[in-house]
């Protein structure tokens, strides 16, 4: 339990750092959007996306806000567990429960297969409409397969 307590403290520090960095990023994005600084720094072919207005700036700020919110909530939960032995034990059991771990593994495995197939079908459909979308989907498929292969290799070595 002491080991888990230390892990939780480290995790809480990580969440706080994530929240602070995301808040800083939020500020940077807000500044760039307000001043349209990207248009003066990047070539017009890249900065063009920044000029699409509300949707893209909303996406960036929403993303940062979500990260900050998530990190703050997680940090609060960690702090509450560290102060209360009962909550700490409940959290430990929830995280180490073997049935939960099995469910997470099976979910990840099934999700991966379905996602790859869906992306492959989407890329075939996209080939009729947009080369940019097609290339993006192909790049995503390759990235996901590469990451999965790398982790498989790592865990095969580890276990």
């Amino acid at each position: 339990m002491e080991k888990f307590r230390k892990q939780l403290k480290t995790r809480m520090t990580g969440y706080i750092i994530t929240a602070v960095l995301s808040a800083i990023l939020y500020g940077v994005f807000a500044f760039l959007d307000m001043t349209n600084a990207l248009g003066t720094v990047l070539p017009s072919s890249i900065s063009g996306a920044a000029e699409e207005g509300d949707f893209t700036s909303g996406f960036r700020t929403g993303f940062c806000s979500a990260i900050v919110g998530f990190a703050v909530i997680k940090a609060i939960f960690c702090a509450a567990a560290l102060k209360n032995e009962k909550k700490l034990k409940a959290m430990y059991i929830k995280e180490t429960d073997e049935r939960t771990a099995l469910i997470i593994q099976k979910t990840a495995s099934s999700s991966f297969s379905v996602t790859i197939m869906a992306l492959a079908v989407a890329s075939v459909v996209a080939s009729f409409f947009s080369m940019t979308v097609l290339y993006t989907l192909i790049a995503i498929i390759f990235f996901i397969v590469f990451v999965r292969t790398a982790f498989q290799f790592y865990y095969t070595r580890k276990y």
Binding site: K89, I93, K94, T96, D97, E98, R99, T100, L102
Partner: protein, 70 residues
């Protein structure tokens, strides 16, 4: 896998929550074990058997495994 967990638990007059806390799993895992939806790992089977003070074979039914071997 069939088990006698529910029978032994009721004989000892303890709840699923109490048993779960004692062996370090969630209540849902105990429910799944009792409903034969989930098969416990070796470590969990050992912990449950030790909690009831019985050998593993008297808590978990390995007859299916023996049938496969035969």
């Amino acid at each position: 896998m069939k088990t006698r967990i529910q029978e032994l638990r009721k004989a000892k007059r303890i709840s699923q929550e109490e048993l779960a806390l004692a062996v370090g799993v969630t209540r849902q895992t105990i429910t799944s074990l009792e409903c034969e939806k989930y098969t416990a790992s070796l470590v969990l089977a050992y912990k449950i058997s030790k909690y009831f003070g019985l050998p593993i074979e008297e808590v978990f039914d390995f007859s299916e495994v023996q049938d496969i071997e035969n």
